[in-house]
């Protein structure tokens, strides 16, 4: 009886679909309600001047179109924050990835002993609580009692007013971030290295390729996709720079030289409760991250082609 068989199959398929939706509903519901919906709402919020006056009395809420964005474009502090964020991403990002690669190459080297021990050591900062370790670094950076300056002076370099000078405050934050993040990337890159077939290296060696040539012509190209992943994730994370300056320099001091876009959003939103304006800041951050990610993926595709 084929007809019966088909309806039975249809019924089974329908039951399966229904079960699937029941399984999906709680998880997707949470993601929709507490993640996707707020992101969409952020855009709507950015078209208003929602602030404390509006919290106190709804009649004080005005729809102002793209005024917040126009105001942003004219606000030198926003440009400063955007510039700082790009400084952090463009300098800190590549440095982190390069150091991760160096660490991964060392860890995966055939000569290395106690591999697990070194891997754990390099990786440890990645699991620590940012607020706590940033607090630690703040004391390490102290111009007078900080151990970093003492180490510098010990090797004959001048002491640096790390967090107090406009020149060094951002490098100080970059150093902290590299320290915190290179270990996680290292693990991923090390796994990528493991997946490169040994035969490729053998072939390269037969062609007379040295260590550097092997790195350039075998390791890096083969690592491509992993490299892209690490790069994109680091980039997305770094664009959201917040807790480091929040703890190390509190307001993005000195002279806003460590003010990031996310910190600006926090200050406008949760310190002064200019929620509309803060939402515009957040949305610009969103667009910037999206554009940067797309650019990276495109560039790597072109590189492959």
């Amino acid at each position: 009886m084929p007809a019966d068989g088909i309806t039975a199959m249809k019924r089974a398929a329908r039951a399966e679909a229904r079960a699937a939706w029941l399984f999906l509903a709680p998880g997707l519901g949470v993601i929709f309600l507490f993640f996707l919906l707020p992101i969409a709402a952020a855009f709507l919020l950015s078209l208003t001047d929602f602030d404390l006056y509006a919290v106190a009395d709804w009649r004080n809420l005005r729809l102002i179109g793209f005024d917040n964005y126009l105001r942003l474009l004219r606000d030198p502090i926003f440009w400063k924050a955007l510039g700082n964020t790009f400084y952090f991403v463009l300098v800190g990002g590549p440095l982190t990835v390069v150091l991760s690669l160096a660490a991964a190459l060392m860890i995966q080297s055939k000569l290395t002993r106690f591999r697990g021990l070194f891997r754990t050591a390099f990786f440890a900062p990645a699991v620590t609580t940012l607020v706590a370790v940033a607090t630690v670094w703040r004391y390490l950076y102290h111009p007078r009692f900080g151990l970093i300056n003492h180490a510098l002076q010990w090797i004959g370099l001048p002491a640096v007013d790390w967090l107090g000078s406009t020149r060094w405050a951002m490098p100080a934050i970059i150093i902290l971030s590299i320290w915190k993040n290179f270990g996680a990337n290292m693990i991923i890159l090390a796994a990528g290295l493991q997946n490169i077939p040994e035969s490729l290296y053998e072939a390269a060696r037969l062609d007379g390729a040295g260590w550097w040539a092997q790195l350039r012509h075998v390791t890096l190209p083969m690592l491509g996709p992993t490299f892209l992943f690490v790069g994109v994730m680091t980039c997305i994370g770094y664009f959201q720079l917040f807790a480091e300056p929040f703890v190390l320099t509190r307001q993005g001091e000195p002279l806003n030289s460590t003010l990031s876009v996310a910190l600006l959003m926090y200050k406008e939103g949760f310190r002064w409760w200019n929620m509309g304006y803060a939402a515009a800041v957040a949305f610009v951050l969103f667009v910037v991250i999206l554009a940067a990610t797309t650019l990276q993926v495109r560039a790597s595709r072109r590189g492959e082609a």
Binding site: D49, D51, L52, Y53, N60, R144, G164, L255, R271, W273
Partner: protein, 431 residues
């Protein structure tokens, strides 16, 4: 495994719901949520046992919020509808919180009170709590800034008594700096404090805002002169360009003679007594602020600072909250509070206590308190205050001129006040 995880999850969920904020009060005991700021939040706990003894049915739960985060925490609580019953609030925040409708007016309670008597308070301080004719906070302690100075360094520089005019003061600083040599300065003015430039401005008669608080007025001649004087102190090397975060230990620097003057508030009297080495005690003192040259009124005006106790509109137990305020306002309790914290009482009757009247380093504050002016009473003041030092800092560091900094400041303040102008235009009465 899954079954167990599920069970654990359910157990956890029930644990969580039982941990929900305590709204129900068991056995007729009312739990009062009280936010104290900084050190006061710590000290007030020691005053609570006596209150609890008198009011066994009121349990006061004191939370300590750091001063640096207090303003934003209070606003967050207001927006999130989770304000405490009672809080210590900086008196410059009162216009803002009152405008938002976050606070209860206290006039009716004051009228009925046997303890809180407005006539007994420093009038300049009481006035900071009045918004549109209604009282929204009861002063808890007063806080005004004046001159801390090293007596020995001043005498060595040829000044047997503290300076009374700006000219005298600058001269004293020059000589102190010259004697101190490299690495030493004359005065400590943290660049991330707005109080100093605002005080200098007020001394010269600057209004700071104009048109009923609708626009910034920082390019007025008075404020320009004040800002020039203030920035000059750094540019002439009399003050180090340091933010609070960079100053590891104020009392150490003061004891070392890194600076001979420091404009700060009463809390540092206690700090210095506690933290400076014994041989340094007796080598420092306090004095009211010098006045601008040509002005006959000494001391020069300072800011009417301090903190008040306020009851939130969303308070679950306003009656009990008022009881705490009355208790903390009793002159005897205020004296005890002063002994514990070093904070200065806002009531004249508390100042007769020997611990206050007989303390020479505290007496200067009494004198200064007769000459204080409030900050402008607009809801946006905290934002504006932050802009003041942020805009002046580039001038201090020599990145731009004072005039450019003030132009920038006025522009930013006008932007901040834009919504206020709109709200005022819509309903002139709503402030």
């Amino acid at each position: 495994m899954s079954g167990r995880a599920l069970l654990m999850g359910l157990a956890l969920a029930s644990a969580l719901s039982s941990c929900a904020p305590k709204t129900s009060d068991r056995d007729g005991v009312v739990t009062l949520r009280f936010w104290g700021l900084g050190r006061e939040g710590e000290v007030v706990r020691d005053l609570m046992p006596e209150f609890q003894r008198r009011n066994p049915n009121i349990h006061v739960e004191v939370q300590q919020i750091p001063f640096t985060a207090a303003h934003e925490k209070l606003l967050t609580a207001f927006v999130g509808r989770v304000t405490p019953d009672l809080a210590q609030v900086g008196n410059t925040w009162i216009p803002e919180l009152a405008t938002l409708g976050a606070l209860q007016p206290l006039d009716e309670r004051i009228r009925r009170s046997a303890v809180v008597n407005p006539a007994d308070y420093f009038s300049g301080i009481w006035d900071t709590n009045v918004v549109e004719g209604a009282v929204y906070g009861i002063p808890w302690y007063v806080d005004t800034r004046l001159l801390f100075y090293r007596t020995d360094l001043l005498v060595a520089a040829g000044f047997p008594r503290p300076p009374r005019t700006w000219n005298e003061w600058v001269e004293a600083m020059r000589r102190v700096k010259a004697r101190g040599g490299p690495g030493h300065f004359a005065v400590l003015l943290p660049v991330d404090e707005y109080e100093q430039p605002v005080i200098f401005g007020r001394q010269l008669g600057a209004d700071l805002l104009r048109d009923g608080g609708r626009y910034g007025d920082f390019r007025s001649p008075a404020f320009r002169q004040a800002a020039g004087f203030y920035v000059g102190l750094y540019r002439n090397g009399l003050a180090p360009v340091l933010a609070n975060a960079q100053i590891a230990n104020v009392s150490q620097g003061f004891a070392r003679g890194d600076y001979a003057f420091y404009i700060t508030g009463p809390w540092n009297v206690g700090e210095f007594r506690r933290r400076m080495p014994p041989e340094m005690q007796g080598r420092w003192s306090t004095a009211p602020l010098p006045a601008p040259d040509g002005s006959r009124d000494w001391p020069g005006v300072s800011l009417a600072g301090g903190a008040s106790l306020a009851v939130f509109r969303g308070a679950a137990h306003p009656e009990e909250a008022w009881k705490v305020i009355e208790y903390l306002s009793e002159p005897a309790v205020q004296v005890r509070f002063h002994e514990l914290s070093g904070d200065l009482p806002p009531r004249a009757s508390a100042w007769t206590a020997p611990s206050l009247a007989g303390d020479p380093q505290v007496r200067a504050f009494h004198e200064q308190l007769q000459r204080v002016a409030p900050a402008p009473k607009v809801a946006e003041w905290e934002q504006i205050a932050a802009q003041i030092w942020q805009c002046l800092e580039p001038a201090i560091r020599g990145h731009e001129s004072v005039d450019d900094a003030l132009t920038d400041l006025d522009a930013r303040v006008d932007q901040i006040l834009e919504k206020r102008r709109a709200v005022l235009a819509r309903s002139p009465r709503a402030r």
